[in-house]
């Protein structure tokens, strides 16, 4: 386990007044209406809300996979929401980790290769000089998630829980400032989900990574430091009444 990273005074992730609407026919369907939030280093924040409330859209905007119609995203104090696709990808490779509900591992690569993918993309030509050190780090991370014996196994040879552990290792291999997780336990049984969640939160704390975790599950939210509720595209106070999760 790596030691806890030093906490910076600048919050790793800040969002101001994020708005997003999608074109539907001739009209526009607003999904986010002025969402603002701050994530501090090492903070674990749950994002709850009903289906269609805009959780995934918010994660995509914060992860620079999509651009907001209005508002801004600051990563370590630097505004990043207007970056071009290439620059945004470089930022993602180095400073943002993703964990998805469907694991999203590349089936042609084994566990170790999947974990190394963000590093390979982040380092470009430098990869060939640093590949031994990077491979060693990825091995350690896979050992930390309990898959030290399954480095060469492809995703089809791993269980759902194991695949999500590989995905967590992949998300953390670049020691990102922010980890965005979209229903990471949604495809797992309760026991496995609990194990994976515990592992994710432990590792994130150890790395000093701020985590924003979208979930329907109150038990998952309880394990986090703080809970944000999203309803009709807006963040609502914690004690406000929101529509029940379907």
């Amino acid at each position: 386990m790596t030691p806890t990273a030093p906490v910076s005074s600048v919050p790793p992730l800040v969002a101001h007044g994020l708005e997003k609407a999608y074109r539907v026919g001739r009209g526009r369907l607003p999904v986010l209406r002025g969402v603002s939030l701050v994530l501090c280093s090492g903070e674990l924040v749950a994002l709850m809300g009903a289906s269609g409330s805009g959780k995934s859209t918010l994660l995509h905007l914060l992860g620079l996979m999509d651009r907001p119609d209005a508002g801004e995203v600051l990563l370590d104090g630097e505004r990043v929401d207007r970056l071009g696709a290439g620059a945004a990808a470089r930022v993602r490779a180095r400073r943002i980790g993703f964990v998805f509900q469907q694991f999203q591992l590349l089936p042609e690569l084994n566990a170790l290769q999947n974990v190394l993918l963000p590093r390979r993309l982040a380092l470009g030509r430098l990869w060939w000089r640093r590949r031994r050190a990077e491979t060693a780090a990825a091995r350690r991370l896979l050992e930390a998630v309990g898959l030290g014996e399954r480095l060469r196994h492809r995703p089809t040879m791993l269980s759902g829980g194991e695949q999500q552990r590989v995905a967590i290792a992949r998300a953390l291999v670049s020691r990102p400032a922010v980890l965005l997780a979209d229903e990471p336990t949604g495809n797992l049984d309760r026991r496995t989900g609990h194990e994976v969640l515990t592992l994710l939160l432990d590792l994130a704390r150890a790395h000093g990574t701020a985590v924003l975790l979208a979930t329907h599950d109150p038990a998952v939210a309880q394990a986090c430091d703080r809970v944000l509720r999203l309803a009709d595209g807006e963040l609502v106070p914690p004690d406000a009444e929101v529509a029940p999760t379907p």
């Binding site: 996979m65 990808a89 490779a93 290769q113 993309l121």
Partner: protein, 450 residues
């Protein structure tokens, strides 16, 4: 990433088939090119066999041209290494005792022949006449320096040479062979046609087959008969008469390093100095290279090569379309993985580059494979031709139709590399669109894709 490219490339057999398609298209193109090169080389060598570097057809003035005048004019021309006169006439051939019944088209005893009177020594200096004698199969002459010599006797007739192919059709009695002085009858047209309305009287003569020659030029295979040009046994004396010209064309061999244009200029100047008419003017005649003389024939083969190249280029084009289809399907199929790559930090250039690299690899593999297969087949052409004949009874160039030894194929390394490179570039071109699509994949949409 290279592992990912390879895994995607060989994900399905159809993708390997796309590579194979490019390879087969290119191999077919290169093979046909090589065979056409071989045919061109074979045909040029055949045409060249009985040609000189230059062909001089004298202009005809009031008096028929005389070879002595031309020989004297050319003797001091440094650019001309050797000159050989030809006296050409046209005749029907038959055999003594047979009837030449020209009104019956089904009657085939008479065969049209082209009589070429030559000076054997001079002829051997300007072309491969000596080789043709040496390679004769049916009845090689005993003494190549005296090829028209026949066994002496009271009934001896002037000797002539027919091709091996002609000789194979000569009717022989039981126990008779061509070394025994087989007689042949020739009815030649006069050297100058009479005015319209007057009777055309051919001149008949009986000759002896002195031997055969190998038809190095397939066009001489059946209808060219060589005999002495002048002298008591010559064409001039025996069939055309003393008033006829004693040569109708001359084959000139240029000195080493002399260009055709320089040779032509020197010959024209020498003729002018000697007061001989300039060929190519109102009095007719010409001075041309062997290529110009056979331009139509040679051009036809080159045109054939261009046409086959064009047609087979479409095969390569279709193969490139196949590659495009496979890559486009792959991008559609792997759209979710492209989204994952984007989430992990792959920008549009990286995603597009991945698919482009994949297409480039497929193109390169296809081009290399096609090049290698074609090179191997050309190197093993005789074994391949023998195998096709033995196993499937396929003769690529049947001996009855083509006078070629085996399968003619000449590998043009430079041209083959250019075609392989063009195939590779074509593959890259067809890779651009799928690569662009991969680059423009929306990561959010891609991750939603199931």
């Amino acid at each position: 990433m290279s592992r990912l490219v390879l895994a995607w490339l060989f994900r399905r057999p159809v993708q390997a088939l796309a590579i194979l398609g490019v390879a087969v298209g290119l191999a077919a193109l290169l093979l046909v090119q090589a065979v056409m090169n071989g045919l061109i080389e074979t045909n040029e060598a055949a045409v060249r066999a009985f040609s000189g570097d230059l062909h001089l057809v004298p202009a005809v003035g009031e008096t028929p041209p005389r070879w002595d005048d031309y020989a004297a004019a050319l003797a001091d021309v440094a650019e001309v290494e050797a000159a050989a006169p030809h006296l050409v006439a046209h005749a029907l051939s038959s055999f003594p005792g047979w009837t030449m019944e020209l009104s019956q088209t089904g009657y085939s005893d008479a065969q049209q022949v082209r009589l070429v009177g030559v000076d054997p020594e001079a002829e051997a200096r300007v072309n491969r006449f000596g080789e043709a004698l040496a390679r004769a199969e049916v009845a090689p002459v005993a003494d190549p320096s005296r090829p028209f010599a026949v066994p002496p006797g009271p009934f001896a007739r002037p000797g002539l040479l027919v091709s091996d192919d002609f000789a194979r059709g000569v009717p022989l009695a039981q126990g008779e062979d061509l070394h025994g002085g087989k007689k042949v009858e020739l009815a030649a047209l006069p050297w100058r046609l009479p005015p319209p309305g007057e009777r055309l009287v051919p001149v008949n003569g009986v000759f002896t087959i002195a031997g055969t020659y190998a038809p190095l030029d397939f066009r001489t295979a059946l209808d060219v008969v060589f005999l002495e040009r002048t002298g008591p046994n010559g064409l001039h004396w025996n069939l055309l008469g003393s008033e006829a010209a004693d040569f109708t064309e001359a084959l000139l061999k240029l000195a080493p390093g002399v260009s055709a244009e320089a040779g032509k200029a020197a010959v024209l100047e020498a003729l002018s100095r000697a007061g001989l008419p300039r060929p190519g003017g109102a009095a007719g005649g010409e001075l041309v290279t062997w290529r110009e003389r056979n331009a139509t024939f040679l051009q036809a083969i080159h045109t054939e090569r261009r046409m086959t190249t064009l047609v087979l280029s479409f095969v390569v084009l279709v193969a490139a379309f196949g590659l495009f289809a496979v890559l486009a399907a792959l991008v559609r199929e792997k759209v979710r993985d492209l989204g994952v790559l984007a989430a992990c930090g792959a920008g549009p250039w990286t995603r597009g580059g991945l698919v482009f690299g994949l297409g480039a690899l497929a193109s390169a593999l296809g081009a290399a494979l096609g090049f290698g297969v074609a090179r191997w087949l050309v190197a093993e052409k005789d074994a391949v031709a023998a195998f096709l004949d033995r196993r499937f009874g396929i003769q690529i160039f049947p001996a009855q139709l083509y006078v070629v030894d085996g399968l003619p194929a000449v590998w043009n390394g430079g041209g083959a590399v250019r075609l392989a490179l063009a195939t590779f570039l074509l593959g890259l071109l067809f890779t651009l669109m799928p690569a662009l699509r991969a680059a423009r994949t929306d990561p959010v949409e891609a991750l939603r894709y199931e």
